[in-house]
Subunit: 416 residues, 2 copies
């Protein structure tokens, strides 16, 4: 097993070559990486079978499904890389330029971070996604996957490295940490001077561990306790359609809604309709409800404790809270939100303005589903995760968010 | 003494009112803060006298000079606040807007962080600077000054709070931590959910402590080990003038140069001239030199150890290193720089391109002094410190850097 520290150091060592690579060289590498993935699909599938066999009975069926690869999924991964090749190169954009009175030209220029570390769980496809985004944005990357998917990721990385070499870029531009114990994650978190940006993608425990332990710069991609507030002025049809979509279309993802906050004046009309819609026996899945005192007088359901509003259910389960006005809705959100995505359903400009100004989340929606918080949906063409912090990047992170900037200041002898 | 936790919580509680304040209300508050500073100058000077008397014999004369206030300095502080009132409001800028195919309008909008914590040392004027920048950028602020300047800062904050109240903004928008022990700094570093951004301004020890201990988002404002590389193609007159300025004009600041790297082909000509210029007996201050082996064969001076290149001298002292080419110069900088500011003096486009591409610092200069890395000089109109990290803000931070963004997404019933 290669030492984690050595893998990280090698990545730093070659990062300059990735940083300096021209757009067409990076694109050539990406296309070669995609081709190599498909050319090595047999090897990757064999490795994946080892992972899946070992995981059976250990992790849930949903997780096994996420872990499992087939020819179609490998092709999708390769096509994903090809799509990244088509995106504009974020490196070297002049973000602003101005000439000072003394003639100095100050250019704020986008540049890669250097080495990006990504800690993620057992989804082999994240391996190729993350690597493609790192390379395109001029960064070397060090990947650290959960042990359940290690063999799959190793085979995928080996194939991608072939592609890098084909385009005369260093194979170490994409590296996989071989130690899957907690130790290697901690080494990544403290690799000052080597890891320029660390992106933990995973559960609460991983994110918290980064928060507590990391000394390298991190972007936390958090959980999503997303709220939809139904204002008294709401169009009830829109409201029903949006809550149905936000809760039921894919409850396992972070942009799904967990809580519906309802204005008291509309609750009597809205809640029975919502209940009927989400518990229709014709549905494939039925939603269960967790109710506060006020809403339990209108519809049936379980009783919500204060702490139920702090849970990301990731399930066909919706907590309900009735409030007196938009102000109280915003207060509830401030206390319980993870600052991911919230939506107001309202036809009242004043309530909308109050909500969008005071809700402190990455994405604040007006009359739309929270499910749109996604790099692809936002038109970024890709996504390295969804930041729930305020520093540097907020919400879906695409290629531009994987760059920082520096000032290049050109003069002809100016002194101060 | 008020409990640190309570001060922080109160700041969070009122931060919404600062966030929502309109530009003219914030400006009114700033002007009232400036007026109140001058109106209370007697009280502030009395408090300052207590600090200065206590500090005599305890801290250096340079530090005492930084600590000392007089009518003129108070007026300068007030004028500084008035200048911030004149700057454009950074809040609510639409950074980008696009309409998705489904009609959703996605607006990336600049918003305040919420509560900014600032830990700084014994410079009372930073109190008013930082508070003005925080308020103008829509943030509440919690200030934590070193104990030597506490009485001065307390009187300054009391005056500014009067100003806030005059403009009907909450006094707790600007707060001073009353506990000046290390404990309060640590509470700030771990105030998750209350401190939205922490800016430590101080020495290596403070910055390191933040790096190790902070769980809230931080922007590290680091030390400056700044390099000037004299390429073989350099215009020697420019080079001399620039090194003289970068080293000698104000060696105590972070954008002063500490190291001069010289191409071997020009060293024989350049170094004796530099030595003559910087040790001219007519000068008020004489520069001393720390030399590597190669340069010690050309001029006289002390011997530089490897570790001397990792010291921010903040003094009339310059380390010299001779290299074979620009590549070796960049390697030296990668190993020893604090990523603050570096400059190349060269007339060779290729060398310049190599240097600006590969030097990974906040500001990279071509034929100019490193001393320009400063919010005022960069045309930001102000400065909250100089970031040496890559996340969020790099180099001088003005009002825009004290904002984050959120996506406001407006629809009419869109679902995914």
């Amino acid at each position: 097993m290669k030492k984690t520290e050595n893998i990280i150091k090698k990545a730093k060592l070659v990062s300059g070559r990735i940083l300096r690579a021209k757009t067409n060289q990076k694109n050539k590498a990406l296309l070669a990486m995609a081709d190599a993935l498909q050319a090595n699909s047999k090897r990757i599938l064999n490795a994946n079978r080892i992972d899946v066999d070992a995981a059976k009975g250990v992790i849930s069926d949903v997780m096994i499904d996420r872990l499992m690869l087939d020819e179609k999924r490998i092709k999708a991964m390769a096509d994903g890389i090809r799509q990244v090749a088509d995106l504009p190169d974020p490196v070297g954009r002049i973000l602003s330029t101005h000439t000072l009175p003394n003639g100095l030209v100050v250019e704020k220029t986008s540049v890669p971070f250097g080495v990006i570390g990504i800690i993620y769980e057992s989804r082999p496809n994240v391996t190729s996604d993350a690597a493609a985004l790192a390379i395109k944005s001029g960064n070397a990357c060090v990947l650290r996957i959960g042990k359940e998917a290690f063999n799959s990721a190793f085979a995928i990385v080996e194939a991608m490295r072939e592609g890098l070499k084909t385009a005369r870029l260093p194979a170490e531009g994409v590296s996989l940490i071989e130690d899957t114990s907690r130790n290697s994650a901690e080494i990544l978190m403290k690799a000052d001077g080597y890891i320029d940006l660390l992106i933990p993608r995973g559960g609460k425990q991983l994110i918290n561990s980064c928060k507590q332990n990391a000394t390298v710069p991190c972007i936390l991609t958090g959980t999503g306790i997303c709220h939809i507030y139904i204002d008294k002025s709401a169009d009830i049809d829109k409201a029903l359609k949006i809550v149905e979509n936000a809760k039921m279309s894919r409850p396992s993802v972070c942009n799904a809604a967990e809580v519906c906050i309802v204005h008291k004046d509309i609750a009597q009309d809205f809640l029975p309709k919502l209940k009927k819609l989400l518990t229709d026996p014709e549905r494939e899945h039925i939603c269960s409800f967790l109710l506060d005192d006020a809403s339990s007088k209108i519809i049936d359901g379980g009783q919500a404790s204060y702490y139920d509003y702090d849970v990301e259910f990731l399930d066909y389960k919706l907590a309900i809270r009735i409030v007196n006005d938009v102000k109280e809705a915003v207060e509830h959100i401030s206390l319980h939100s993870t600052n991911h995505s919230e939506s107001i359903i309202s036809e009242d400009k004043k309530a909308i303005k109050y909500f969008t100004t005071n809700v402190d989340s990455s994405a604040v929606y007006v009359n739309a589903s929270t499910r749109f918080t996604d790099g692809g949906e936002f038109g970024l063409g890709c996504e390295m995760g969804i930041s729930t912090q305020k520093l540097h990047a907020r919400g879906p992170m695409g290629l531009e968010e994987l760059n920082t900037y520096k000032y290049i200041v050109t003069g002809n002898g100016q002194i101060r």
